[in-house]
Symmetry: C2
Amino acid sequence: MSLLNYSELFRPKIEDYLHQVIDQSNPPGYKELKSMLFYHMGWEGEGSGSRAQGKRIRPIILLLCTEICGGNWEAALPIAAAVELIHNFSLIHDDIEDQSLTRHGRPTVWSRWGIAQAINTGDLMFTLAFQTAALASGSMEDKLILESEKILFHTTEKLTRGQFLDLHFEQSEQTSLDDYWLMIEGKTAALISACAELGALIAGADHQQQKYFRDFGRSLGLAFQVVDDWLGIWGNPEQTGKSNDSDLMSYKKTLPVLHSLARNGEFAKRWNKRSITSENLSELEQMLIKDGSQNFTQDNAEKLTIEAMNFLKSACPVENDACLALEELARTLTQRRR
Amino acid sequence: MSLLNYSELFRPKIEDYLHQVIDQSNPPGYKELKSMLFYHMGWEGEGSGSRAQGKRIRPIILLLCTEICGGNWEAALPIAAAVELIHNFSLIHDDIEDQSLTRHGRPTVWSRWGIAQAINTGDLMFTLAFQTAALASGSMEDKLILESEKILFHTTEKLTRGQFLDLHFEQSEQTSLDDYWLMIEGKTAALISACAELGALIAGADHQQQKYFRDFGRSLGLAFQVVDDWLGIWGNPEQTGKSNDSDLMSYKKTLPVLHSLARNGEFAKRWNKRSITSENLSELEQMLIKDGSQNFTQDNAEKLTIEAMNFLKSACPVENDACLALEELARTLTQRRR
């Protein structure tokens, strides 16, 4: 079975499960609330459909890891759905916090329904995530559910700590590369790492193997974010599906920017003057290249990808289809610039 | 032992436990994040101290119910702390959603640190609540922890559904009394009901007794909110510790207002014109009294209080100190107008 086969097998089951959980107990009075949840999940409203739904990468990683370790992936569905709900709760809140107007090419929940309802809808999504995890009682032992929950709780803690740093650095004059790594460790790597670890845990893998999966997910998550930073400046919006606006115009402190700011050269001078418009973009991009910041970003992405692949090799002692599929998925995620 | 004795016994333990949970894993980089949490809990910053901390009523109810049912209240501390954290997470977010500038006489988290950081700090508080509940593994069996968590997850779902309705009704032209009861059932009664039920559950009470406690908490929560609505118009700000502004000036759809609006008389006409200032207050208050809305509110508060007391009698087959203390607490909460 290839990655495509696994995707085609997992995706509808994940979608069904999410649908079922979010659709439950929605009496008529809560129609608008259900609409907000369904809209955000890409199931309802203008522009709904597979593009609006995102790729559900996190639950797919989790189920592949269960499969690799010889577990029953269907038993892992509640936890996989929980992970996707946690991801989506954080997107709803992050969009408010970052004042993002669009996601997957559609208006964000807060820009459609206002900040107050969006905060609350995110809170409900958060709650549903844990409710979903608790549903695993049909397929998992109590001890295992509690262990999985512990990982989920700690992961959402790391997510919010990472988001704190991100918001904090926006306001602060000095942000170091060390700060950056700490921030993306929480914001991006923690949840992907948890997916890989949970998949192994649920399948009954031993501690060492769980650790290999956790480390694989962590390196993959870091690589994923670094590639995202690269794409935010040099990516083709039509290919990436991201907004047309370069990250440079929103003054995001991404890896290439922080690397270049530390050099304190031409780019830093221009950046500190602010008022960057689309006409200045190519000039600024060139300054970053001159400072070696494009190469630096690319080198880091490659280094982290190799690291991830090595951990994956250690995690998969016997090569099987699921292993190869996960390797392919990891490559897709880290080579999106091609 | 009186209510005061129980309070003096429980309060420092609750405070210690909360402190310990919130203080854990706060490396130097997260100093500001810790400050926001500590500030909200009333432990840090201007105006910190017992008034800023609130009364911790919910964990006290929980621990009293454990005690009544012959359980070990110290074993219930993690769940009691979790309940208080859930309450506080919802306060941080509600304050943003309702644009409230002060709480317990101090600036709210969002008005001090901005909306973005406040949303995220609320999310962390939410996560810590569930982490705290999971800490019960030292004193409770796996099965019991999972059962308690299930109640907590469903309660936060009800909280967010109630808040959805509250925000939704603000915008809608027609809000009925049925809508009102559904809304406060989620917003206020659900968590107090959960406290009473959890206390009994942890002590090993049977299903029938758990149900009596749950129903007691529900009626108490409803009564509490109705009294709160009364105080929001006719209460003395100096005695209640609430803001000086009458709920009438923020156009809150409280019980007396909804009752009077349904009469469609003088009050409704004046209300619909808006622009209510402090000079119009006594006139509007008189219109409410004329419509019988003050009496209606008072009657409902009394009816619900009697209901709560009857459930409590059924819940406590043998009268003991803890029972009397809980009865006293319930009376204090529902007779705050005196």
